[in-house]
């Protein structure tokens, strides 16, 4: 029945329920009953209205790169694929704004912008650089190393179009750089993981490509030196685009060739006006040497581009190499990255776990990857123990810990969104008011809402 009713809206060619094909849409071991491919926002609206009436749950789907995020779906009826909404709606060089439909990949948007006029770019470099879609990136509040300079999605989105759980087609924000016209609904939608609406299009600010960008890899032998170096940089008036700390395991996964006494690398990307990039490269190299760097390397041109691409795509590398791999993200005070790296390493060793660590040092974020290849069963207790421990440590530093992907066996035993926060009741009330029937992505967002 679900099939035939939805088929009336999207047409025979744009709906599937064949189990063989549904397998591509597995989430935490569960399969949807149908997948629909609406052609436009009106069709999404009609499908949602129907779902609301029939009490079917709906999961929006871009490229499926965030399928591991969130709790295990409570009920999983229908996937709405955004793959047919893949067009550019507006591109205005004179206003620096770009509107793309939700199913378009960021990669395609960037290619288009790079080819216009003097060359432009959206200031985001999130993981899954080839496949991640605009809608998925916004829904998951996904970002990459360059957020230190440019901010995250919340800082660069001017407007969002979405379909509310009652089927209403809603426009939040617009295309102007400043906008205080009614509540900033876009902020609610960013990072809401499809729990409040299905994003149909996104308007981004963009910028001209920098005159120059370059990378320094500062290799250090201790975390004390790493801390001195990064905090010195943070408190100077230099403004690099990215500051990332990698541990030895992460460097190994990236096939970086490092000297024996090199234990950590701080990778810095600096970009912008040529003279200021040159000056920063010089100053940062000196600061590195002042912090007892074992070696300072510089990457230019293609080496530079490839380095950041593989660093951004690290979660993809882990997912491909480690069938039982786990990705976590902790947030905390920006003065604590080296301290957090140390805690992770020490406790992981104690618990017999191997972890690759990449800290977005300037933003107070640490991505930790537990590299499990063959099995998770025998590690489960240690993992739960370790992750609860690490959540507490992040909370002590004003943050939290979120699991970005993990095998179901672990998800069943742990809160993937970390410790409940002060404002959770408001989060719950918003969900209840906006999606009273609970049809959008139930079970996956914070607190299982």
């Amino acid at each position: 029945m679900m099939f035939s009713k939805a088929e009336e809206i999207v047409g025979r060619d744009y709906i599937i329920n064949d189990p063989g094909r549904l397998k591509d849409f597995t989430v935490d071991g569960k399969l949807p009953k149908v997948v629909v491919y609406p052609a436009n926002v009106e069709e999404i609206s009609q499908v949602i209205k129907l779902a609301n009436k029939e009490d079917w749950t709906v999961m929006p789907w871009g490229a499926g790169t965030k399928r591991g995020m969130g709790g295990i779906p409570r009920k999983f009826d229908m996937v709405i694929s955004l793959s047919r909404l893949n067009r550019i709606l507006e591109l205005e060089l004179g206003n620096l704004h770009f509107t793309g439909q939700a199913g378009m990949t960021l990669h395609e948007a960037q290619e288009t912008l790079a080819g216009k006029g003097r060359g432009y770019f959206i200031r985001l470099n999130p993981p899954f650089s080839k496949s991640a879609t605009l809608g998925g990136i916004v829904a998951a509040n996904s970002s990459g190393p360059s957020r230190f300079l440019y901010g995250s999605t919340r800082d660069m989105i001017l407007g969002i179009g979405f379909v509310a759980p009652n089927g209403d087609i809603i426009r939040a924000g617009g295309r102007t750089a400043k906008n205080v016209s009614g509540y900033d609904i876009g902020k609610l939608i960013i990072g809401s993981l499809g729990s409040l609406g299905i994003i149909s299009d996104v308007t981004f600010k963009f910028l001209p490509l920098p005159e120059k960008s370059a990378t320094l890899a500062v290799i250090l032998s201790s975390l004390e030196d790493t801390h001195d170096f990064t905090s010195g940089m943070l408190n100077s008036n230099l403004f690099p685009a990215s500051i990332e700390i990698l541990n030895t395991t992460a460097m190994h996964e990236l096939s970086m060739d490092i000297p024996d006494n090199g234990k950590y690398v701080v990778a810095i990307c600096t970009e912008g006006v040529k003279e200021s990039v040159d000056r920063q490269l010089k100053d940062i190299e000196e600061m590195g040497k002042g912090s007892n760097a074992v070696e300072v390397r510089s990457y230019l041109g293609e080496d530079h581009v490839n380095f950041w691409k593989s660093l951004s795509d690290f979660p993809k590398i882990v997912a491909e190499r480690y069938p039982y791999g786990i990705a976590c993200k902790s947030n905390f005070l920006i003065s604590k990255p080296a301290e957090m790296v140390k805690l992770w390493e020490d406790r992981a060793i104690k618990n017999g776990l191997s972890c690759a660590l990449i800290s977005r040092a300037g933003n107070g974020v640490l991505y930790s990857y537990l590299l499990l290849k063959d099995t998770i069963k025998e590690h489960l207790d240690a993992l739960v123990n370790h992750l609860e421990d690490m959540t507490e440590e992040a909370v002590k530093r004003d943050g939290n810990l979120v699991i970005e992907f993990a095998p179901v066996a672990l998800k069943e035993r742990i809160s993937v969104w970390g410790k409940s926060r002060d404002d959770f009741k408001i989060v719950q009330d918003l969900k209840k008011q906006i999606d009273p029937a609970g049809i959008l992505n139930p079970g996956r967002f914070v607190g299982g809402i």
Partner: protein, 461 residues
């Protein structure tokens, strides 16, 4: 509730009679803001702590009394007027800096502190809080939070919301909670992002957590003088398309220049049709080359002259003209309406022409001083507020300008909010469905509609 009982109940909470005001003069003074709208509260209360604010809200919720939180009342759209009477909570006593955490680049302040006072407290550390509304010497951080204030530096650094990371808020029923925090990306909905710019209609902030950053190493300030408004507007578009990101790109037109020169003597030439105030900031390296590129673009658009500030005094003088512009224009006529329509930057030249035409058609003088880099217009429509017909006329002019902005793909407020003034214009940019979605948000935060009621959203049909 009887007014007398309300007053005595609040005196119970505050314990100090001096901070509960209800004289006729007080009711008049707290009934207005910088807009054309007026209201009248029943009582004004000046709490000293979050706990007191919480008790006030518990009381208001129990008795269903409207509450309006107020900073300095510089709001330009009637957002801070008590349109439905009730209690005005004035935050002037809660003006403390709670914490300056240099190591983590965060600060926590109370809402009543003047924005500039806070910045002056940061300066000795070599740190800045970037948002810089022109009214910052008197506007409060709480007001900036409520309005998502902008300012000349937004072009490069974004608006208030890009620098607000959390807040302690008192909810409709008096409950106190924190949203956001010192760390980024806390799990859950971005409630801080939602509350910033909600014009004090969802919750009452009692502490604000902001991002602070090291001050830029160098600045370069230019004043470009033009013989036509259009040349100035085209220069703005050219600078943006050329890929230069100045911190500031501000425009003042002839009438504004005249007013500024009569009051602050900033050295703007009286016979110019428009000036652009342009400032670059960041590392000193490469700055001169960028400045040269800007000057070249100005020349391509027939600039008459470009002056560069040679020292901090000259810079301060150029800025005094911009910062003092609203005050200066206020001397030209008994009153003005400050419009805040915002358009895509490339639409500026055509929209400006239309705005000028509207003024001519209604025979009202319009001074333009605005954030050109952001497409944020501020036509100041001059009128005599003793003349009833003019007051009606000016409202029509305001509404027409907003319509022009909406039709150009823009919006009806860049930084001043909707408040009381633009409720009926919400329909220019939002559908009934959009508005009903916003109303659901309001219902979550304020089910009894007691927090700054009657603002932003049109009444439900």
């Amino acid at each position: 509730m009887e007014k007398e009982n309300m007053i005595s109940a609040l005196k119970e909470i505050i314990k100090d009679e001096r901070y509960v005001l209800s004289s006729d003069v007080d009711l008049l003074l707290y009934g207005y803001d910088a807009s054309l709208y007026r209201g009248k509260p029943d009582v004004i209360v000046l709490p000293n702590t979050t706990a007191e604010v919480s008790e006030i809200m518990q009381f208001a919720y129990r008795e269903k009394i409207p509450v309006v939180a107020r900073g300095s009342g510089t709001n330009l759209t009637g957002g801070s007027i008590p349109g439905k009477g009730g209690i005005v909570i004035h935050f002037s006593r809660m003006d403390r800096v709670i914490e300056i955490d240099i190591e983590n680049q965060r600060a926590i302040v109370e809402p009543g502190i003047f924005t500039l006072d806070f910045k002056n407290r940061l300066a000795p550390y070599g740190f800045v809080y970037q948002p810089d509304p022109a009214s910052e010497s008197v506007s409060t951080m709480g007001g900036n939070f409520a309005e998502n204030s902008g300012g000349p530096l937004c072009f490069k650094y974004g608006v208030t919301t890009n620098h607000m990371l959390g807040a302690e808020v008192v909810l409709y029923n008096g409950e106190v909670t924190w949203v956001g925090g010192k760390a980024l990306d806390n799990p859950g909905y971005d409630l801080t992002g939602l509350l910033v710019g909600s014009e004090g209609t969802l919750a009452i902030a009692t502490k604000l957590l902001v991002r602070i950053m090291p001050a830029p190493e160098a600045r370069k300030t230019l004043l470009a003088i033009f013989d036509t408004l259009k040349d100035a507007a085209n220069t703005v578009s050219d600078i943006i398309e050329d890929g230069i990101i100045p911190a500031t790109l501000e425009m003042l037109d002839k009438l504004t220049i005249e007013a500024v020169e009569a009051s602050v003597h900033a050295g703007y030439p009286l016979d110019a049709e428009a000036v652009l105030l342009i400032e670059l900031d960041g590392l000193k390296d490469g700055m001169e080359r960028l400045a040269d590129r800007i000057i070249k673009l100005c020349k391509q658009n027939k600039v008459r002259d470009v002056k560069a500030a040679k020292n901090e005094d000259e810079r301060a003088l150029l800025w005094a003209g911009r910062k003092g512009a609203f005050g200066a224009v206020a001397r030209l006529e008994t009153s003005y309406l400050c419009n805040d329509g915002t358009v895509p930057r490339n639409k500026l030249p055509e929209v400006l022409e239309k705005v000028v035409a509207v003024g001519k058609r209604y025979n009202l003088r319009i001074a333009n001083v605005f954030h050109a880099g952001d497409g944020n217009l501020h036509p100041l429509v001059l009128f005599d507020d003793r003349n009833k017909a003019d007051l009606e006329k000016v409202k029509l002019v305001g509404s027409e300008i907003l319509k022009i902005c909406a039709e150009a793909g823009g919006t009806i407020s860049g930084e001043h909010g909707i408040g009381t003034e633009k409720i009926k214009e919400m329909g220019l940019i939002f559908s009934d469905e959009d508005i009903s979605f916003k109303r659901k948000v309001k219902m979550v935060f304020d089910p009894e509609e007691i927090i700054n009621p009657g603002k932003i959203l049109p009444e439900a049909a």
